[in-house]
């Protein structure tokens, strides 16, 4: 068994992703327009929204992995689900941390029950439950089934949660972000670039994590 990066493709991907991340920081810092009333704080948007996108994408992968686990009965899909759940939760935590940091200068207070942040918080809490079941759920073979089920119903719940939270308190609609499509090109293009770069980072993280989970499983089986 060898390290993930022994494979030349993975090594190149890592270096490529590293360069892209550095480029992203440079691009955001110097190539984006300075919005009048938010100044530097507005540029948080270029990492806050891609983090949310990656987090939700990852939770979607958990749902797919759960379904595939039940269809194919293959442990590989359980590993995919666990890896995607971990990485998704990391990015969702980043959203929940950077959101209030962005909100404090803009809105004056760190937390408003704004629909998207609230949905993110609810999903985060559901996944805390997911990891508790993984740890305390009992026998490992059962736990895989429980985890797959929770992954499926968690993402199934997302559209309903978002809809109900959005109309729950209509006076709190003040997201400091206009609709994506209506953004001027100077903002939209660096945002899309950042989004693609974050997605590439995510793909590398996911593949690496799946690999490490698999060799850990092999180690346990050998012992």
């Amino acid at each position: 068994m060898v390290t993930f990066f022994k494979n030349k493709n993975n090594m190149f991907f890592l270096i490529f992703v590293g360069i892209l991340l550095l480029f992203n920081i440079y691009n955001i810092s110097f190539n984006t327009p300075m919005v009048p009333d938010q100044h530097w704080a507005q540029k948080i948007f270029y990492v806050h929204v891609p983090s949310a996108w990656v987090g939700f994408l990852s939770y979607f992968v958990v749902m797919i992995a759960g379904i595939m686990f039940f269809v194919k009965r293959n442990d590989y899909w359980d590993n995919v689900g666990l890896a995607a759940a971990e990485i998704g939760t990391i990015f969702i935590s980043l959203v929940l941390i950077t959101g209030p940091i962005w909100a404090t200068p803009i809105w004056g207070k760190p937390w408003i029950w704004e629909p998207r942040l609230t949905t993110t918080l609810i999903l985060f809490l559901i996944y805390i439950g997911y990891f508790m079941v993984r740890s305390f759920g009992g026998h490992i073979e059962r736990v895989k089934r429980y985890a797959a089920s929770i992954g499926i119903i968690a993402f199934l719940d997302v559209p309903i949660i978002f809809l109900s939270v959005q109309f729950w308190a209509p006076e709190i609609q003040s997201h400091p972000q206009v609709e994506m499509a209506k953004q001027p090109a100077g903002i939209l293009i660096p945002f899309l670039i950042s989004l693609c770069i974050f997605t590439l980072v995510y793909i590398l993280m996911l593949r690496y994590r799946i690999y490490v989970i698999q060799i850990k499983d092999k180690l346990i089986k050998n012992v």
Binding site: I126, M132, R145, Y146, I161, S164, W168
Partner: protein
């Protein structure tokens, strides 16, 4: 087959009346706590009454659902149930409907203490209130039975059920409070019919998911 299982659930309950009674008593203690913590001022309570009602129902449902599954857990009737050659999704459906029936029975009794102890008037459009309540119960139970079925055989199930259940059921709670506020304040139906749609979609989605997933969850 479904009706046989449903009759079994109801029969067990009618003999001991354990689930409904314990939910009822727990509900009364929560009402007491509400009374103490809101200084029984009519202004405070009448604003928050629907919310408080559904918070109480949330806690009571967790208790009730735990009791519903604990029969199977204690006497290992679960493995016997699973080895029967039936579609296991029907177990979910029977527990869902019987859970809803228990919750509704308990609520019909607890409405009077809830409104009277908190010094409110009983709702004038009783029938509408009860019917929307039954719909919300269906939604709550669809989520609760599914979550409970997933974690029931773990050791930590008493802790895991609330932790998983409360975030998953948040849209139900939002919708339930909006509907109840609308019904109690006798506002026009158009204003809160959107929330009824939300409740209906939750019922459909979770009942389907529960019916499909129960087969996989209860494998050995």
């Amino acid at each position: 087959m479904f009706f046989i299982l449903l009759k079994k659930e109801l029969f067990i309950e009618f003999r001991s009346r354990e689930v409904v009674l314990s939910m009822l008593i727990f509900g009364l203690s929560i009402i007491l706590a509400f009374a103490f913590t809101s200084n029984v001022s009519k202004v405070i309570v009448s604003n928050n009454a629907p919310g408080m009602f559904w918070i109480m129902i949330l806690f009571v449902s967790v208790l009730g659902v735990h009791r519903t599954f604990s029969y199977e857990k204690n006497f290992d009737a679960f493995s016997m149930l699973i080895s029967a050659p039936i579609d296991r999704g029907i177990i979910y459906l029977s527990k869902w409907i019987s859970g809803t029936i228990f919750l509704t029975l308990m609520q019909l009794v607890i409405i009077v203490p809830f409104f009277k102890f908190l010094l409110l008037d009983l709702p004038s459009n009783f029938i509408l209130f009860i019917s929307t309540m039954i719909l919300v119960n269906l939604a709550i139970m669809s989520v609760a039975i599914l979550v409970s079925g997933i974690v029931m055989r773990a050791n930590f199930s008493e802790v895991l059920v609330p932790i998983l259940f409360f975030p998953l059921v948040s849209p139900v709670i939002i919708a339930a409070t909006k509907i109840s506020s609308g019904v109690l304040a006798e506002t026009a139906y158009q204003l809160w019919q959107f929330w009824l749609l939300i409740i209906m979609s939750i019922i459909v989605i979770f009942a389907l998911a529960g019916y499909t997933l129960f087969d996989f969850i209860t494998e050995e």
